[in-house]
Subunit: 205 residues, 4 copies
Amino acid sequence: MDRLLQGYRRFRRDQWPERRRLFEVLADHGQQPRAMVVSCADSRVDPAMIFDARPGELFVVRNVANLVPPYGPDAAYHGTSAALEFGVRVLKVSDLIVMGHGLCGGVTALLHGAPAAASDFVAAWIGLAARARTRAMVCDDPVERQLQAEYETIRLSLENLMTFPWIADRVEVGLLSLHGFHFDIRSGTLSHLGSDGRFQPVPPA
Amino acid sequence: MDRLLQGYRRFRRDQWPERRRLFEVLADHGQQPRAMVVSCADSRVDPAMIFDARPGELFVVRNVANLVPPYGPDAAYHGTSAALEFGVRVLKVSDLIVMGHGLCGGVTALLHGAPAAASDFVAAWIGLAARARTRAMVCDDPVERQLQAEYETIRLSLENLMTFPWIADRVEVGLLSLHGFHFDIRSGTLSHLGSDGRFQPVPPA
Amino acid sequence: MDRLLQGYRRFRRDQWPERRRLFEVLADHGQQPRAMVVSCADSRVDPAMIFDARPGELFVVRNVANLVPPYGPDAAYHGTSAALEFGVRVLKVSDLIVMGHGLCGGVTALLHGAPAAASDFVAAWIGLAARARTRAMVCDDPVERQLQAEYETIRLSLENLMTFPWIADRVEVGLLSLHGFHFDIRSGTLSHLGSDGRFQPVPPA
Amino acid sequence: MDRLLQGYRRFRRDQWPERRRLFEVLADHGQQPRAMVVSCADSRVDPAMIFDARPGELFVVRNVANLVPPYGPDAAYHGTSAALEFGVRVLKVSDLIVMGHGLCGGVTALLHGAPAAASDFVAAWIGLAARARTRAMVCDDPVERQLQAEYETIRLSLENLMTFPWIADRVEVGLLSLHGFHFDIRSGTLSHLGSDGRFQPVPPA
């Protein structure tokens, strides 16, 4: 905790003075993010850092393995779906990004079973991506299988996004664009899911 | 999107060179975050920025209004609970932080009803915090009521965390500490929930 | 009128079928324009045509000579200021455009006096741009003087926009950008007001 | 902005070649629109599109909720009244149309109060239509009340037009006709206010 409080003091000393006005205006006028990101809770994958985004730019939901459940309004508490609804219907973002990443522990759990220590919720949650697992199991090589499962999980989340009628409607008429990205932790490479269904590195310069 | 890809190029040019080794080690050895944060999806409240945290330091789940549901393993998809389980039982974090913030749209929806446009999920999700609403409604002043509802939402999430047996057990024996924070967007002030149940500003220097 | 009703029938026959879905989604989900245009009521200068914009893209206020009054909330009815407030504070547009045009009758009235037939309101309204008139009167050539007065009117409206605190705030921190354009009716040339304070043609291809 | 400049390039490539002569003539001879439209700034309601009008056909003033203030020449800046004066007394249009539309945010603000974010001007401006609000409040059903308030706002603007002496005079002798229209965004239906005081759909074919 001391470490975090020291971090807060650095934030106040180094970043606050130049960002003070931006925060004041964001407080007075409200947020108007143009993009929303569904990404993983993993401590190595911060969307704001990877996109060098300013405060106010990205509406961010983070869960294990950047999963999107299929549309299904019912009595249960749907945290991710509620965040999607807030971002798309209330804030009216124009771009909706699913960002997966390399060496994802959630995807490892998908392929090899949830850790024994995590049987209450992780197994059920990650079961959302069972279809991604099936698709990736055709790979023999374990490293390649992990990568393909990460890719398939992103594709599946994008497919599930399209089951939300108020997302599909907006995508259909061009008011909202969906994007898939994968961040490779080791190399720092961001790859983009193209219209041909393949991930290709974004040129870093 | 162009703006985001330009941001990625700045990240690669300005931050990657000095962080490359850190990412390589984080890739080789896996993450070992000491702290987990439950915060809001709001675009103005990035935990990594407020705590000036490095990659690998914070395991972050973000949802609308930084809510934690009560413990309840069942057939439903519990994104926030799964992330808690992964952070606490698999990654074994030492500190678990609930961070709320000022001018929270989710809390406004709690007090005044979800926006008409957000009826599928936001209303049900925010209903999780109904008890925080009840407590805050004793305030007559609307600005103070919003602030108290933000505080109460943080308190409620902390109470709900203690309904998870594997959290309560670890807290009891001192392996895990729970913390409540509130970030004021306008003034940049971070307040900490003390053992006396009151929020007090963290000295910025 | 018959001509207009025939136009409506052409719209229904030729444009509606392909735009029906867009209108339905814009009805269900509300508008989310990213840009607002202040332009002239002149029948020859339709912003949607010049920017080939789709329904939902441009929030448009049109008055005589695309004037913006200085900020001054009081008991009077401020139509243009109300539209600015709605576009900037409610819809949270990112770009705010003042678009003037060639052969502008309002600017002609500014230079040569309002037509005798229009003494109730046009003279007072156009008087808002008196400063633009003063600046343009240094030109001897009447054609050049008209053009310079059109340019100065755009500059003055942009200056007046910055007297609105909630516009200046957002511009200062980068949440809103102001732009000046001039459309030449005869040549179809759109010119952009650059950061050097000069109008330069936008390459048409 | 890139999107708008791309739109301009499409306009130059696709529309300019066939409209070049029209613009040249409109530049040489000036505009002579036969109709003037008072419509809303809403991004979904472009009069030129709905009437499939050519450049030069419609003199258009757009403000929030297509309001016309009552006649009242004084020291204030009357943007809408100045535009009316220019259209009627200088350009001598034959038809003057007030066009409202469905799901009008200005009318919603009239019924439910201006958004908190829009307190400087929108509240005062929309207050112009207080009488329309009173008339519509007799409806119990909220959807019907919104529609009736849109209709009443159009009726009120038409009544206010008749308080301008140079409009009433011309209407009396048949030189000018006033018309009320309502465009339903969802269905694309244009309705016309008949002499019996009721709105009836214009047959689309």
